[in-house]
């Protein structure tokens, strides 16, 4: 059966709409920050501050609505793609990217709407406010991911290669996608954790610190940055607005941990299911194929992160860094292995 090209085209259009809505949502989240800060800076009577805060919240709520809208279009896009090609819509890298981002948005929306998470983040059960400030940061990589998927990785609709034609594609690949999407969200939260942690320790913003290190690699603390310094410190104070809006480092750390404790068993299951499938398809359950190896490296990385959290002297920043390295390995597994290194898992669908 050949692909329904008309429907596949509809899917592409729906996905474009999803990306637009996500982009507007991101602007909305950013506007919430800006409006909140302006209200704070303006000072004045409590009446004006309250009005400013209300305006900010309005932007935020609008952004959430836009995110839900984008999510709906996103779901419609992958569904129509599946119907158009008469199979599961995760047979090549383009489709895989669409699914991973869909999972990531779903995880974010889940965190947003979970009363227990909200309570942990804000101490209040009723508001999505503080989880919402992750919104802009979650949307950015998702838009990037989808942009890359729609351009570089785009694959014309078609059937699966025979090696993939098995019910295991439903089990193994769904698990891999789910874990990847969740790891993406945990990665974003971990980066925010590291930034917020810097802020809480009273260190200058990363930008300023890097600049100082560039000017004087030996002794960044001593260097005078000239007239720019004051501006940079100002900027640091301005950053305070953004940083203050984020939940505390401890909360971000726990949130990232929570998402990883969901994703890690799923990733473990994906690897095991992959081994069982490999045994049926290639007559060996493990062959150190590059894809298998990088999945294993990723797994070890997150295992190291979980250990680090329980090891004296490794909690916090160092553990977080390990989890980001593990995420880096996942990205190598996904982008580099599929496109640069050849192996049995050549299903990228790009040439």
């Amino acid at each position: 059966m050949s692909a329904n090209l008309h429907l596949a085209h509809t899917s592409d259009v729906l996905l474009t709409w999803a990306v637009f809505l996500y982009a507007f949502a991101m602007l909305g989240y950013a506007a919430e920050f800006a409006a909140g800060r302006r209200a704070e800076a303006a000072g004045g009577g409590s009446e004006t501050v309250a009005r400013g805060a209300r305006r900010a919240a309005l932007f935020g709520r609008g952004a959430v609505v836009l995110t839900f809208g984008g999510w709906a279009f996103h779901i419609a896009a992958v569904t129509t793609r599946g119907v158009a090609v008469h199979r599961v819509p995760w047979g090549n890298m383009y489709e895989f990217s669409c699914m991973v981002t869909l999972v990531a948005v779903s995880v974010y929306l889940f965190l947003l709407t979970q009363p227990r998470v909200r309570a942990a983040v804000t101490g209040k059960q009723r508001t999505t406010e503080s989880v919402r400030c992750l919104g802009a940061f979650v949307m950015a990589p998702i838009i990037l991911y989808l942009g890359l998927a729609g351009t570089v990785l785009y694959a014309a609709p078609g059937p699966l290669v025979p090696a993939l034609n098995s019910y295991w594609i439903k089990i193994h690949v769904v698990a891999a996608i789910t874990a990847t999407g969740a790891f993406l969200v945990s990665g974003v939260i971990t980066v925010l954790y590291l930034l917020k942690d810097r802020y809480e320790r009273g260190l200058p913003p990363l930008r300023v610190a890097l600049l100082a290190r560039l000017r004087s690699p030996r002794n960044p603390a001593r260097v005078s940055l000239g007239p720019g310094t004051a501006a940079a410190v100002e900027m640091g104070a301005a950053r305070g607005g953004l940083m203050r809006a984020l939940p505390s480092a401890a909360v971000l750390d726990r949130l990232a941990y929570r998402v990883i404790t969901f994703a890690f068993p799923v990733w473990t299951f994906a690897i095991i299911a992959g081994a069982i499938w490999a045994e049926q398809a290639w007559s060996r359950y493990w062959g150190w194929d590059p894809k298998e190896t990088w999945s294993f490296i990723t797994w070890l990385g997150y295992a190291a992160y979980l250990h680090a959290r329980a090891t004296a002297g490794w909690r916090g920043r160092r553990a977080a860094t390990l989890s980001l390295i593990a995420f880096g390995a996942l990205m190598v597994d996904y982008y580099v292995v599929n496109t640069v290194i050849t192996g049995l898992h050549s299903y990228a669908g790009i040439s």
Partner: protein, 533 residues
């Protein structure tokens, strides 16, 4: 106070304590210290990271196990660097001694770490929950309230509630009419963690079992041909270290028909090998449709379909009219359109002469981009066999092992070339006749016996189950102290303090404490609540 708190939290896990910096005197303490060092969390962390780093070169440097041809090419292109890398096992990273050293050390560390942890946890499972600390209100999650109920009434209510929520509960009475309740829940977290780590060891045992007792072999079978599971029938046979021939299950099968289907572009869409197998020589044959993702499971061995190609029915008669060769001759594919090559060797054509045939087969003959004949589609739409005949010494009696798929022609005389379609014959100058009867297919099968597979599967299941318990269950403690108010005999009020702790990983305990206290005080709406710090 932070001290005591972190101690309390640490008591919820059996993780090894950090190794202290002091060095004791004498060899004994040194060894013991080394052992403690090896089984510490820090070492586990280091070795996990090291293992991950060590695996990386195996994905960028060509590996023998995956692509030996690429390794040879690399060695040819790098005559100096290549041998050095070879010496460092960089082409066999996953079989390298240094790679093995890391994971074996990791598993020694793991076992050394697990044994005491299991002992500790078993003891914790048998112990009563630890008594309530004296200063409950110092814990971060704590509340205090007053009630008209007597201390033991409060304690009894809390006891009942906790019991019914499946906490492990203990009630103690202290002097001065103080009643306390201590409860603990979520032991499953630690159990799951230990199960997970033990399952890792089980997984390694499974791998070792297969590595020591398994076997693997491949065989090429043409349509209507057969195979019996004995060493001499294999084309390639790889036994493991402790394998013995008695482990070969006595099954056999015949390949009745093989079909491949392709998209118009030549992309394959499906392969079917229709076989009939017997699990023992006396058993009745059972038909089976083998596919790429659908292997045959017989008697502990698995048979996989791993490749396919064309087998040509060729016969040769000598000048005297005797049939000297008649059979399915497998041709090996050279490209994705199945342009294939093969040979026929006839060491005794009669009259002391020998005959060799080398050929190319094109399932769908067409003209390639260079103008030469080539196959333009993998299915047999327009089969064409191009043959060359050779006379001279084929070398069959030289004692040097010969490949059945190639014939070195440097010392032979060419006595003609031709192209045949199915059904056509070719009369050679010396009177011999070659007939191309038709096209069959062959399939290659891989037989694998992995005695550790069940162990592996069990390990994998426990890994997942252990992980879920370990990562999703929260271990926590709850305490309650009910103290008579200090107002003397006439004061009938009771001051109740409740507090709890959870492993620091999870969210704090405040939410759950609020919930528990809410339920303990629910039947007593008169209680006056006063939140603690």
């Amino acid at each position: 106070m932070t001290e005591t708190l972190s101690e309390e939290v640490a008591a919820l896990s059996t993780a090894p304590e950090p190794v202290s910096g002091r060095v004791a005197r004498g060899a004994g303490p040194h060894l013991r210290r080394l052992w403690r060092q090896l089984t510490s969390m820090r070492t586990a962390l280091l070795l996990l990271t090291l293992l991950a780093l060590a695996a990386i070169p195996g994905t960028f440097i060509p590996q023998r196990g995956l692509d030996p041809v690429k390794v040879d090419g690399f060695l040819r292109r790098h005559p100096h660097l290549g041998p050095l890398m070879n010496h460092l096992s960089l082409f066999d990273v996953f079989a390298a001694p240094w790679f093995a050293a890391i994971y074996l050390l990791l598993f020694v560390s793991l076992v050394g770490c697990l044994v005491p942890r299991i002992r500790l946890h078993a003891a914790a499972l048998r112990r009563r929950p630890p008594n309530a600390p004296r200063h409950l209100m110092r814990l971060p999650a704590s509340v205090q309230w007053e009630t008209e109920a007597a201390p033991d009434q409060v304690a009894a209510a809390a006891y009942q509630l906790l019991k019914s929520s499946r906490w492990r509960v203990d009630r103690r009475d202290e002097p001065d009419g103080v009643a306390t309740v201590a409860a603990e829940k979520g032991y499953l977290r630690e159990t799951g963690n230990l199960v997970f780590h033990v399952a890792l060891v089980v997984l390694l045992l499974g791998i070792a079992l297969t590595g020591l007792y398994g076997y693997k072999g491949t065989v090429l079978v043409s349509e209507r041909g057969g195979f019996a599971n004995a060493r001499e029938f294999y084309d390639v046979f790889e036994p493991s270290r402790l394998f013995s021939d008695s482990q070969l299950a006595p099954f056999s099968f015949t390949l009745q028909r093989f079909t491949a289907s392709y998209q118009p572009s030549g992309e394959p869409t499906s392969f079917h090998a229709y076989i009939a197998y017997r699990s023992s020589p006396s058993a009745a044959p059972v038909p089976f449709d083998m596919q790429v993702n659908h292997p045959l499971d017989v008697d502990g061995a698995k048979v996989f379909l791993v490749g396919h190609g064309y087998s040509l029915r060729i016969s040769v008669k000598n000048a005297a009219g005797q049939t000297v060769y008649n059979g399915d001759t497998p041709f090996l594919p050279d490209d994705s359109q199945f342009t294939s090559h093969g040979v026929v060797k006839i060491p005794n054509l009669g009259g002391g002469k020998q005959l060799g045939l080398t050929g190319f087969f094109y399932p769908t003959a067409g003209v390639g981009p260079t103008g030469a004949v080539t196959s333009i589609y993998p299915g047999p739409r327009q089969p064409l066999l191009s043959l060359a005949a050779w006379s001279g010494d084929l070398g069959a009696n030289s004692g040097v092992p010969q490949s059945v798929y190639s014939l070195p022609v440097a010392n032979l005389n060419n006595i003609g070339v031709t192209q045949l379609t199915p059904g056509k014959s070719w009369h050679l100058r010396d009177g011999a006749t070659v007939t191309f009867h038709g096209v069959d297919q062959w399939a290659t099968f891989q037989v694998a016996h992995e005695p550790g597979k069940r162990t592996l599967l069990a390990g994998a299941i426990f890994i997942i189950a252990g992980l879920l318990a370990s990562l999703r269950v929260r271990r926590r403690r709850f305490w309650l102290r009910a103290v008579p108010a200090a107002g003397g005999e006439s004061d009938r009020r009771t001051v109740v303090m409740a507090a709890g702790l959870a492993r620091s990983d999870a969210d704090g305990f405040s939410g759950e404490l609020e919930d528990l206290v809410g339920r303990i005080t629910a039947p007593d709406p008169g209680a006056i609540e006063r939140a603690g710090e």
